[in-house]
Symmetry: C2
Subunit: 579 residues, 2 copies
């Protein structure tokens, strides 16, 4: 009944009020640098466009079918958009299980869900096009796409699509840091095809080492697997590979198993550096026990066809490691299409596409960006300090008293989340304590200089969000909820006060809730960093991992498939066929 | 207990009699044309080689891991061989389910079993090398192989292996009849990779037809799927594709589903021509109802990038059919390596490698060939008629009486199976009736001319075995049993009389038992031609198909996987992701 009522309500609102029920659209902005004003102007523009909107549904184009895109689609419920999806992949892949696919613990097909299957269940029509967007044209509100079908089907024929609202969720590419040879010789682990290639490559190495007339040295080279990057992906892959080699391949390739060596190269001081020190330590010790050679402070300077050159961070010495297979997982880089788009909108000097806290691309009010392809450029308190002060100082006295604060404090904390982080870090209970602290005692009235001084350290708490599936999924859900509630929030804005404008923001800004992160370490052991500084390591955490991942799979179908794959693996082991 | 006793017995025999327990090997024959004499000389040579054998195990090299090779390995139980397997695929694929893989009814990985998994359970060591044999050298008893690993692992490096006994089970390639464009543009359906490619190609067509700016005509072309060849593979593929399109893809691609067309081209007068007329008729009618366009008498003369040219058998008219995907399944051809080998052994003029009824390559006594890469060259009665007569006429009277016949009749029927076929066809109960019939009354004594006349029609019953998995599997089992029982049968030959030599053949000749053949027709309907001219068509036959195939899968693992794939398909439908 709840669903029915909800749709009924939406539908009723739509019929009663056909104009404002559409998503309100801002005229496109060709240049950049409008950040400071967009806050203030937004509401105006939105309303004026809405009036022009007429009865036609706004065309929303979603680029990408990864975590961000699929989460947006999944949560989009409002039927008053004309939704189009463009992606070179006609499926969503549950990427956290990619390392499991490399070794056959889970089947590739079990972790993918066809987009068309997915959107078929929506209460509105979603049009999907399998193509790659290679150029975004914000001036003309068009995207340029290229299909990637077989030659006899037209090959890479191009077409354009227009949009009213664009949701960019194209993800990122692998970061090679321009290291020579990486693109030619190393494997990546971003796509399902990558995982399948790695799998074939490993079996290829085993089969090759098993052939006659291979020297001892060559066998050692072929059976040396190198993982570059000690982040969660690299560590999980090394662990999975170790399990595959020892639990399954050792029995099948008895004559070459003793040549196996796995090396994990990390440029930093320790692996898993975004995790708690206890986890890093446990992982390093476990890997040492397992015989995985963890080389920290080792920077890869070149990848050749048969060896990889590394430079020691301390001694500066260059060493050459012969290898059979190398996996490169050192983080992400901005895709060329996004780079090009950034130049057009005046973000050419940035490394990553920047959005505001509502996930709108800075300088482009009809374009949203989320997931790995963008970062939120959190507004600093210092930048807005005068506006905040004057907004709080309603009577223009030049001083703020406790009552003045009480009215704006929640808005400040919501608009500038670094304030709360700073309070937590310094174990302060309330915003007001910040002022106590800077003054030494409870001051009734403060002027702007005192105010600045009290907040001067706050912006140091600003942090970029990690490029994880969790962030992307939460952003997708957040944006879909904004799209769903545009009409409602247009009438009753629910966001914080606009310190640089009038009224309130329509929506609460995006806020990331960290639900914890897993680092599977092989041998049915997993480490997990949970919210509130909790750390869990061991077999039980592995079961937690199983259950969390099983519950997070996007559809009932993938859930059944993955669980039955796990079951198959327990019963039959992993398959070693080179397919 | 049975297994234990069996192994114990083998082991005891081996220790008691180390020399004769080895497989006896004939010196290599460089030329060909020794067929007529090999029968007579075989036993002699075998025994003399056995005496030279010493304590070293004979090295048996098996080429290929298809039905014939795997069936040989599965049934080989004798531990007195040194067994090596060379194949470019490190797995066995259950090929009858390949059409199901093309459409995702069954997963690719579910129908394969890694060779190493398979041989690990044998009571003796089996060495596997993943490489392709590109040359057989029967003079020096060597094979030349080429690995097919990645470039950085050595690429196509070559090596040689020697052998004492060679089992050639390399299968066949697809027959293009030298039709231009087939290799470039058509899909085949022989390997697992082929099935995966076809699957991606179909989804590619659907995705492509769904893109904007595609003309009506082009949509029709892209959505036209052509199957060339109305044999069981072509028919089953067309049926599977129809089911996939109507049961799954139609819902996911509503805007292009009406452009779909499936055409089945057959050069002959009707499809499934090796089946009973009732099945052919049923299949043709069902396909007509399903909208699959069956074009018989249509010979493909050329395949271009976007269209296929066919010539009508009757009118001679050439028609061009635009297509999106074309599958070529018109039968098999001899592989280049076998062609080259045939030239060396004097079989250069033949189309297919010939073996005798014991699966030994004619002209090469240490080489056996089985499965699709060879045919049995059944000895004709007429060729041996004089030898048969004189063997029966023990006292050299120039006449045979009833008693003389009784002693050799079983041997004749076993050595020349066409005799029994002829008797069955002419509804004669016994061999002796053959003589009655030709004379009109029961004659007590007959001379050689009468004997010749009586048997003159018999050889017309000689037929080549079909190139099916069933034949290959039975041949593999047969050959393994011969290898298992070499020692035993050396002492007590169990085969028929050697009409052109002395004594008896060591083994019974290979005899194919036809267990029936299925033709799945889609829509949960299957036709089956069972032994004894039985025909079964319908839903219940589909269940028979499920159960027979499930029971025939090579391992418990593949059985569970395939059954669970079927179950998944029933519940979730087929997956449409392009991976």
């Amino acid at each position: 009944m709840r669903g029915f009522t909800f749709y009924e309500r939406i539908s009723k609102a739509f019929h009663d009020n056909p104009v404002v029920s559409k998503l309100l659209v801002i005229s496109s902005v060709s240049g950049g640098g409008l950040l400071a004003f967009s806050d203030a102007n937004q509401s105006q523009t939105l309303i004026s466009e809405s009036a022009q909107g007429g009865g036609k549904k706004k065309k929303v184009v979603v680029l990408g079918t990864g975590w961000a895109g699929i989460s947006f689609l999944k949560n989009l419920k409002c039927t008053s958009y004309d939704v189009h999806v463009v992606s070179p992949r006609n499926y969503f892949a549950f990427t956290p299980l990619l390392p499991s696919v490399t070794n056959g613990t889970v089947e590739a097909r079990s972790i993918v869900e066809p987009i068309r299957n997915f959107v078929r269940k929506k209460p509105f029509k979603v049009d999907f096009k399998e193509a790659e967007c290679y150029k975004i044209d914000p001036v003309n509100k068009k995207i340029h796409c290229r299909s990637n079908s077989a030659k006899n089907l037209g090959g890479t024929e191009e077409f354009t699509m227009d949009y009213d609202l664009l949701v960019v969720a194209m993800g990122a590419s692998s970061n090679t840091f321009n290291t020579p040879g990486v693109l030619e010789y190393a494997h990546f682990l971003k796509e399902v095809e990558d995982a399948q290639r790695i799998r074939r490559s490993i079996i290829d190495c085993y089969e090759r080492a098993n052939l006659p007339d291979i020297s001892e040295e060559e066998k050692k080279r072929i059976m040396h697997f190198v993982v570059v990057g000690g982040g969660p992906t690299g560590v999980e892959y090394a662990a999975e590979l170790h399990d595959f080699a020892f639990e399954d391949l050792a029995r099948l390739y008895p004559s070459v198993k003793d040549y196996l060596k796995i090396t994990l190269l990390e440029a930093g001081d320790h692996i898993l550096n975004m995790f708690d020190a206890r986890i890093t330590e446990f992982a390093t010790e476990k890997f040492n026990r397992d015989g995985i050679d963890v080389k920290t402070g080792s920077m890869v300077v070149k990848v050749n066809e048969k060896d990889i050159s590394t430079k020691d961070g301390k001694t500066g010495q260059t060493v050459s490691l012969p290898y059979g297979m190398v996996l490169w997982s050192t983080g992400i880089a901005t895709r060329p299409v996004i780079k090009e788009f950034m130049k057009q909108i005046g973000q050419g000097n940035r490394r990553v596409l920047a959005t505001d806290e509502w996930l709108r691309v800075e300088g482009c009010d009809t374009i949203y960006a989320l997931g790995d392809c963008a970062t939120i450029n959190q507004r600093s308190v210092m930048e807005d300090i005068a506006a905040i002060f004057s907004k709080a100082d309603k009577n223009n006295t030049g001083f703020l008293n406790l009552q003045d604060f009480k009215e704006v404090v929640d808005h400040i904390c919501e608009r500038y989340p670094q304030v709360n982080l700073y309070l937590q870090k310094n174990k302060l209970k309330k915003f007001e304590n910040l002022l106590d602290d800077s003054q030494g005692d409870n001051k009734k009235q403060i002027d702007i200089e005192t105010f600045k001084k009290a907040l001067s350290e706050v912006d140091k708490q600003m942090k970029n969000l990690p490029a994880t599936a969790q962030v992307a999924a939460q952003q997708g859900e957040y944006l879909a909820n904004c799209f769903n509630r545009t009409e409602e929030c247009e009438k009753n804005p629910e966001g914080p006060l606009r310190f640089r404008g009038t009224g309130r923001h329509r929506f609460h800004p995006f806020r990331y809730k960290h639900l914890g992160q897993f680092a599977p370490l092989g041998g049915e052991q997993t480490a997990a960093q949970l919210p509130g500084d909790w750390v869990s390591i061991g077999h039980s955490t592995q079961w937690l991992w199983y259950s969390v991942y099983a519950s997070k799979l996007v559809s009932g179908r993938t859930r059944v498939l993955v669980i039955s794959d796990w079951f198959r693996r327990f019963v039959f082991g992993r398959d070693s066929s080179k397919i």
